[in-house]
Symmetry: C2
Subunit: 304 residues, 2 copies
Amino acid sequence: MRPYGHVALIGLGLIASSISHAMRRAGLEARITGTARTAATREAAAQLGLGEIVETPGEAVAGADLVVLCVPVGAMAEAAEAIAPHLAPGATVTDVGSVKRAVVEAVAPRLPDHVAFIPGHPLAGTEHSGPAAGFAELFDNRWCLLTPPPEADPEAVARLAAFWEALGARVETMEADHHDLVLAVTSHVPHLIAYTMVGVADDLRRVTASEVINYSAAGFRDFTRIAASDPTMWRDVFLSNKEATLDILGRFTEELFALQRAIRLGDGEHLHGYFTRTRAIRRGIIEAGQDTPSPDFGRIGRKG
Amino acid sequence: MRPYGHVALIGLGLIASSISHAMRRAGLEARITGTARTAATREAAAQLGLGEIVETPGEAVAGADLVVLCVPVGAMAEAAEAIAPHLAPGATVTDVGSVKRAVVEAVAPRLPDHVAFIPGHPLAGTEHSGPAAGFAELFDNRWCLLTPPPEADPEAVARLAAFWEALGARVETMEADHHDLVLAVTSHVPHLIAYTMVGVADDLRRVTASEVINYSAAGFRDFTRIAASDPTMWRDVFLSNKEATLDILGRFTEELFALQRAIRLGDGEHLHGYFTRTRAIRRGIIEAGQDTPSPDFGRIGRKG
């Protein structure tokens, strides 16, 4: 597969920074240009040596055969608008947004016909943000989901897939709406719940802050890690994947009320049966290679 | 502080096994006796060399100056009943249950006056259970909360605290009801929520099992780890800390509905403000030394 000769990164946060690091690690010889909204981010990215950092999206994409939109989902339309007049014929435009239907609607109508838009979503991230948070291993063994439109050129899709595989990712394609439902279950609603629980703890004046922090047993500590993720990114995720999020949330509260009722009524059998069933899914994830079975839950000193 | 000469472990799961390992690591020269309900567990514990394994609680506690009840919360009353006639005068009885008020009510009235009952709760665990899951480092730098009754002998409390500190833990004392409220926030309700979310994913037939497992992004993967915890232990936790769990659950659903409404109405400002606030609690936990800030969130290869 012919590699890209010039990759443009629009937005220079954790993901763009990691793409740059991973491209160098893979020995890809492409020219890398990049830009970000604020001068502070551009300066940080330049100091980190992430690529040729320029002031405007138009300058960044000029001559690029791959353009990766790495801005929050809510800023995709504006970014598409800014790059459209400057895109080279035959270029591929992709993105790394956590939702896909809303990105398709924001970006596709704004791009010229002479480029291919193939939305993408690497399932990778940390609770840190900004260009300094990036690292070359971020995508290793993680999935990158592409949601090409039905009319997409198969060669352009394969070329983009090969790019992500060179960065360490595994690639799968699916339909945009299906992507949004799967992610609502596996990521969006879990994040909303974690944010909520941490908010409850924060509000609870009978339990002092230092107690909540000191005695943060395993469950809560993992929630705070999730709830430390980038606020802007997650605001945009919920606003732009509204339908699937509300659908899954409805099911969640339904189940939660059933468990709450079992607790109130002292129905131990119901609780035990439920908890036994959820154990099995964990085994599936370990077998799928997406986590390790090491007995480190709640331990200090996890290492990446 | 005079160390214990003979420690009896009633129940031989993850916690009892880790106590035995940590005692040896600390060089404590106490005799260790232990028993468990099933022959299979007793056999496994004997093969692991956790101590002198005997068939009945009565044999295990004979002559012990420290007895640690390591059975599920729902089995505490029965365990107390079984050991009561065999306890040595002046012995200390403690436990490791995740709730304290219910354990006090189950155990205290069944013990003779010539022993000191000092409830305890080490905030440590993994999602694995059974004697083979134990390891010497489990309590290192974790809190162990003691909830001595007002009339407890301060010297007996200090002696038990020194024991836990020798195993690597930090010790704090508090009132039993307060313990139960703090833990409802930091552990019990987070676990219930994680169980619920994993159950929702399992039910959702539109999202195939392999997709939920393959694409288990960070949020959900952490939930499955939590939801793989011992079903019997957690059933007992919820049944025996009913009041505080339902109280915190009520607050949780209240907050969740407010966020759900903000999503439905597209109120990005509310969401962003909420998510920004929850980020701060995470920093507090890292500063309190209860987790590391390393950017490994969602990474394969975490190590303990």
